[in-house]
């Protein structure tokens, strides 16, 4: 059974007379124990998507429709009190900039035990400290971090603190929003390896937002490609990144510099930029930038179609149904 299933989730931002559809009928399943990487350029709705299911979007200006079930519970209509309980305990989020996520005026220990004791008020201070030191050890941090301030830690250490924080209650769903993007390659690989190992140990399902395809290639089982709020392609990483069906995915892969490549093949970009989402193109959302676009693409938005087990793509031309 799917741990998280998203059904027709849409988010529209209202500002004055403009209505920006940042997320357009997203339907997605993540099975328990699996890992999903969500890729796409900035403005593709990656962060809007997780902010919507965590209900962190501003109430007045963002309108959410659709459903998101986590373990059978519907998140979008959940009451605030129940939601607060679910945050950290069932789903946890690691932000990109942990230096901004951690309070600069509190010691790491104080910050962590605060969160711990809000969810478990009966626990004594000493027990809380023991649990936190356990967590710090889990992410390869020395116990002395408990008495340090965030500014005394390096970027990698702070990111580890954020991850420790997110693992506090063994959440079922761990969401990483560009959690390793700001780190150095060496630290990034180490932290990713640690996360993958912890995931197996604790049975965590991971959803990871990134624009770095290599991170997805090395750590995620499944991948979903978002563009301008629409899901364009999803499936197993080994299928999608090796034989992409959608022209956008193909373009993304071509524009990524390949290290192993000895021949100096020129890099190719995807021309143009994201469409204005307050007045999207009438046909396929990617049509204005697509090199393969033909008449039908200008007329209607293609629906997601299945191409093999768990493999979906939204393109009129995928699978060679219409030849150009």
């Amino acid at each position: 059974m799917a741990l998280l299933s998203i059904r027709d989730l849409s988010v529209t931002y209202h500002s004055g007379t403009r209505h920006v559809k940042a997320l357009n009928s997203l339907t997605l399943d993540i099975n328990e124990g699996e890992s999903l990487g969500i890729v796409g350029e900035s403005g593709s709705g990656k962060t809007t998507f997780i902010m919507a299911i965590l209900r962190l979007l501003p109430k007045g200006s963002a309108e959410i429709t659709g459903e998101a079930f986590l373990n059978g519970k519907e998140l979008i209509s959940l009451k605030q009190e129940e939601l607060s309980k679910m945050r950290w305990e069932e789903m946890a989020l690691v932000f990109q900039k942990s230096m901004n996520a951690l309070s600069p005026v509190h010691k790491i220990g104080a910050l962590m035990s605060d969160i711990y004791r809000i969810h478990k008020p009966e626990v004594s201070k000493r027990d809380a400290r023991r649990r936190i030191e356990e967590l710090l050890e889990l992410v390869n941090l020395p116990a002395r971090v408990y008495d340090l301030y965030p500014h005394e830690l390096s970027g990698g250490m702070m990111q580890r603190v954020s991850i420790a924080l997110s693992l506090m209650f063994n959440p079922k769903l761990l969401i990483l929003d560009e959690a390793t993007t700001a780190l150095d390659v060496v630290t990034q690989t180490q932290i990713l390896e640690e996360i993958v190992a912890l995931e197996e140990k604790l049975g965590i399902t991971r959803m990871m937002i990134t624009h770095d395809m290599s991170v997805v290639a090395s750590t995620c089982k499944n991948v979903a490609v978002l563009y301008a709020g629409c899901l364009l392609e999803t499936g197993l990483t080994q299928d999608v990144l090796v034989e992409p069906l959608h022209p956008y995915t193909q373009g993304l892969i071509k524009s990524f510099p390949v290290f192993d490549n000895d021949t100096h093949q020129p890099l190719q970009s995807i021309g143009g930029s994201l469409p204005d989402l307050s007045s999207p193109p009438p046909g396929c959302i990617f049509e204005p930038r697509c090199v393969k676009a033909c008449d039908i693409c200008r007329e209607s938005m293609p629906r997601l179609k299945e191409y093999g087990q768990g493999r979906f793509a939204a393109c009129h031309l995928a699978g060679g149904e219409i030849n150009v």
């Binding site: 350029e41 900035s42 005394e152 390096s154 970027g155 990698g156 250490m157 150095d184 390659v185 060496v186 630290t187 990034q188 690989t189 180490q190 390896e193 624009h211 770095d212 395809m213 290599s214 991170v215 290639a217 090395s218 990483t237 080994q238 990144l241 090796v242 373009g251 993304l252 892969i253 071509k254 524009s255 990524f256 510099p257 390949v258 290290f259 192993d260 000895d262 100096h264 020129p266 890099l267 190719q268 970009s269 995807i270 021309g271 930029s273």
Partner: protein, 336 residues
């Protein structure tokens, strides 16, 4: 690729043992619990290299290794604590004292965030025309405008007239970075330092910017110092690569050589950690124990020794020099 050419020409840029040290005002707590007062930060700690006309040198390293400080020193946004920079054989110090404007014209910088590069109140036209006017290019604003339109069109910002009246915030990051590159290149400088010029941009448009930067540099025979933490991109654009660790160059050589046949253990670790986008390829990243150190309390001997997988007790005692291995290859390691 420019090896044969480079032998004949004098280096455009020669950097001789430059250092930049900062003094910390606050007390510094080292990882082993000692407190240092007025600690010295060895941001750049003795870097030497030469750069020929039209050559692209990639500088890679972790954050805090001093690569950005090096870039700022090269265009003289900061003065080095010691050492000297020669531009076409003349001391940069003297050049800037004699004619600051002319010096700025010969050395230009491209920054990471194009939105911070420009004054938000100036239109694109004003940004360009002001620069041209300052450097006395073109006789009147009409002519300058013509030059600008020509330049904009040459990099695919079409129709150019529509860009002139816009302000920086009305353009996308990619367009603005193109304008930033164009403004630097317009003055036909001999040295351009690009500090992480594409790390802010989306992957889908990075390739265009890289290609544009490369072709404009080659077109004007401008030497380019490309600073980045992204090894794949750096390899793609560079003729030579220098790997920095704690303010020093630990390995330098032809880009393909360094990338395919790294010798220094740090370079090996960096490159092994560079993941591929092909999920089928298995890579075995070399693990480096410990955190990247801060350049405050530099270990005696080889600065990489505490994290080095092949270090012996000698490594932490004897300081290492950058040794010449022929064919432009330099490595700072006693084990090689």
């Amino acid at each position: 690729m420019s090896e044969e050419m480079s032998k004949k020409k004098a280096p455009v840029l020669e950097v001789i043992d430059i250092k930049r040290h900062y003094t910390q005002r606050k007390k510094h707590l080292t990882t082993d619990g000692r407190v240092l007062k007025h600690a010295k930060i060895h941001s750049v700690d003795g870097v030497s290299f030469t750069l020929n006309a039209g050559e692209v040198l990639g500088v890679i390293g972790e954050s805090g290794c001093g690569k950005s400080t090096l870039g700022r020193l090269l265009v003289r946004l900061e003065a080095p604590t010691s050492g000297s920079i020669l531009i076409a054989g003349h001391s940069a110090e003297e050049l800037i004292r004699k004619d600051r404007l002319n010096f700025r014209r010969t050395t230009q910088m491209i920054f990471q965030n194009p939105f911070d590069t420009f004054d938000p109140r100036f239109s694109i036209e004003k940004i360009f025309v002001d620069t041209l006017m300052l450097h006395k290019i073109g006789e009147n604003n009409g002519m300058r405008r013509k030059i600008v339109i020509e330049k904009l069109e040459s990099v695919g910002l079409i129709p150019a007239e529509s860009f002139l009246d816009r302000f920086p915030h009305e353009l996308s990051g990619g367009q603005l970075q193109r304008i930033s590159i164009l403004r630097s290149m317009m003055l036909e400088p001999s040295v351009v330092v690009a500090d992480e010029p594409v790390s802010m941009l989306d992957v889908s448009i990075r390739a265009d910017i890289i290609n544009m930067l490369y072709s404009t540099a080659k077109e004007h025979n401008t030497s380019l110092v490309f600073i980045s933490h992204d090894i794949s991109t750096t390899r793609y654009i560079s003729d030579r690569i220098a790997v920095m660790y704690l303010g020093r160059i630990v390995e330098m050589g032809a880009a393909d050589e360094v990338a395919t046949n790294p010798q220094h253990p740090y370079t090996k670790a960096l490159i092994s950690n560079c993941a591929s986008i092909d999920p089928r390829s298995k890579h075995n990243p070399v693990k480096l124990p410990g955190e990247p150190p801060t350049p405050v309390d530099i270990p005696a001997g080889c600065s990489f020794a505490p994290r080095c997988p092949i270090a012996t007790s000698d490594c932490s005692k004897i300081g290492q020099e950058l040794r010449d291995f022929g064919a432009g290859r330099f490595i700072r390691c006693m084990k090689v």
